[in-house]
């Protein structure tokens, strides 16, 4: 073994294959260009190639793939939303996730943990009942459970939350899972690349060429590329892209922070969320507690983390699990969340022909990666929004037909 390793190290030729080609020079034109090499953009590229046979596609990534919100979320996958449209959409995503390790031939560490949304008040219980009924109506497994069942699943949880905000019950969502988020991006990148999609890292879109309300191409730091179809899948950078085409959206950028503790022996099997305490927590396969909180309270376009966040979050975690008071937080970070007024995404066609939006992902984007890719690929291929994303169209704001997901998409309201 040691000899093999030494031989490999000194051999100078490392056979470990790349996940995708190291593309440097774009072609003069592509059938479609995807801005943003996160999970969503790469998934859209993959489904464009796989479902629609459109392989002359370039993915342009300003940094490196999966380095944005794909690598900054808390990796939770669930479908227990509030509106039937939301539940159907996220349920389709969960189903795609369940077969995705096999489909992409990469271990996503997709583990089904069960997901408890804790309720500390009667009004929260009412929302849980509402969500459970909507979920069951469209065939998604969600139940309101009492404290005995919560304690059974997580005996370490202090049901009284240190006496400050006793838990009354929870929405239990059996399909709730976690997955290794980086691998989702890498898996889609490799699969898309193998079908001919070209992925350009360190490639920034500087302007979008629009003539007569039709996209003509994009100007990048690697030159001009002609295309009739551009998909913007850039989450927190969306306003900078939409400004290039003079498109107004209701998105507001607010940082969303998360952190992890030092690794521990496995003790937390489920995913716990508390809207009142503004926390969500799960234990990763490395043993770290992965914890997130509410959005930062105002618009900022940067990814700095704050002491306020970690102070507030850990005090609430210590209310739930007093024995964690000596556990250290080892990393914290932030992502730029593109928040919409109704907490539903913003997807589909726009008034500009050939300019498609996959945005408004706020705090709920990772779980939607497969289905957003699939539905956006359909939308690009047919130049018509997929049925599943009709309720997420940009024009809903002009029509005052919002898709209110606030009760299910966020904590801290």
């Amino acid at each position: 073994m040691a000899y093999q390793l030494l031989k490999f190290a000194l051999g100078g030729e490392y056979k470990e294959p790349r996940f995708f080609r190291d593309c440097q020079t774009p072609k003069k034109s592509y059938d479609a260009i995807i801005i943003g090499g996160g999970g969503h953009g790469l998934a859209a590229a993959y489904y464009l190639a796989k479902d629609h046979g459109i392989t002359n596609v370039a993915v342009l990534e300003r940094g490196y793939i999966g380095g944005g919100n794909t690598g900054r979320n808390t990796a939770i996958v669930r479908s227990n939303y509030l509106t039937p449209d939301g539940v159907n959409f996220y349920d389709a995503s969960v189903k795609l996730f369940q077969g995705l390790s096999t489909e992409l031939d990469i271990n996503l560490f997709y583990t089904n943990r069960g997901h408890f949304t804790l309720a500390h008040s009667e009004s929260a219980m009412r929302t849980m009942r509402w969500r459970a009924e909507v979920n069951k109506h469209v065939g998604v497994k969600s139940e309101v459970v009492g404290t005995d069942e919560i304690s059974k699943a997580c005996p370490q949880l202090d049901i009284s939350c240190s006496g400050k905000s006793p838990i009354l019950g929870a929405l239990y969502h059996e399909p709730g899972s976690i997955a290794r988020h980086d691998a989702v991006a890498w898996g889609y990148a490799r699969a898309a690349d193998s079908m001919g999609v070209e992925i350009f890292q360190n490639t920034e879109v500087q302007s979008i060429d629009v003539k007569n309300d039709q996209v003509q191409g994009v100007q990048t730091n690697r030159g001009y590329i002609a295309t009739g179809k551009v998909l913007s899948a850039v989450a927190g950078f969306t306003p900078r892209i939409t400004k290039m085409v003079n498109l107004k959206t209701p998105i507001v950028i607010q940082p969303l922070q998360a952190c992890v503790t030092e690794p521990m022996k496995p003790w937390l099997d489920t995913i716990l969320v508390s809207g009142s305490l503004h926390v969500y927590v799960s234990q990763s396969s490395r043993g770290e507690l992965v914890m997130g909180s509410a959005l930062d309270p105002y618009e900022v376009h940067h990814t700095k983390s704050t002491f306020d966040f970690v102070e507030g979050l850990t005090s609430h975690i210590a209310d739930m699990f007093p024995f964690l008071s000596n556990v250290k937080v080892v990393r914290q970070w932030a992502g730029m969340a593109d928040v919409t007024p109704d907490f539903a995404p913003l997807m589909g066609i726009t008034p500009i022909k050939g300019f498609y939006l996959d945005a408004g992902w706020g705090t709920w984007g990772f779980k939607a990666t497969p289905i957003s890719g699939k539905t956006m690929a359909h939308t690009l291929a047919h130049d018509k929004a997929h049925d599943l994303i009709h309720s997420f169209r940009l024009s809903r704001f002009d029509e005052y037909e919002l898709t209110g997901e606030k009760g299910a998409a966020s904590v801290g309201h």
Partner: protein, 107 residues
């Protein structure tokens, strides 16, 4: 601790303030179309840059305007709505949120 300058109360901890969103001119509700009104209600100039924003100092119930760079989180100026912005103190021109040396900056 991050600090923000309330035009009525001076520098106070950011935790005392509530963000009220970008300041926008309201169209005349009597003669604007549904689309113009929807645009006013929902749409924002959401790209990073220097913005005029509503902020609320909660303990004193003061709504005021802050001019802030949303990319760097630097506050350039705060003043009451309708009042001319007070002159900037050149010595403290960086005026960063979270810069405690600005404690001398006052309205």
């Amino acid at each position: 601790m991050k600090l923000l300058n309330c035009p009525m109360n001076g520098l106070r901890p950011l935790g005392e303030f509530i963000y009220g969103g970008e300041y926008r001119e309201m169209p005349n509700p009597n003669n604007s179309s549904d689309l113009e009104w929807a645009s006013y209600v929902h749409y924002r100039d959401n790209a990073p840059g220097v913005k005029k924003e509503w902020w609320f100092h909660s303990p004193s119930g003061t709504w005021f305007i802050a001019e802030r760079n949303t990319l760097s989180d630097e506050v350039l100026n705060t003043y009451l709505f309708g009042k001319a912005p007070f002159p900037k103190n050149e010595n403290l021109s960086d005026g960063k949120l979270g810069d405690e040396k600005n404690t001398e900056l006052s309205a």
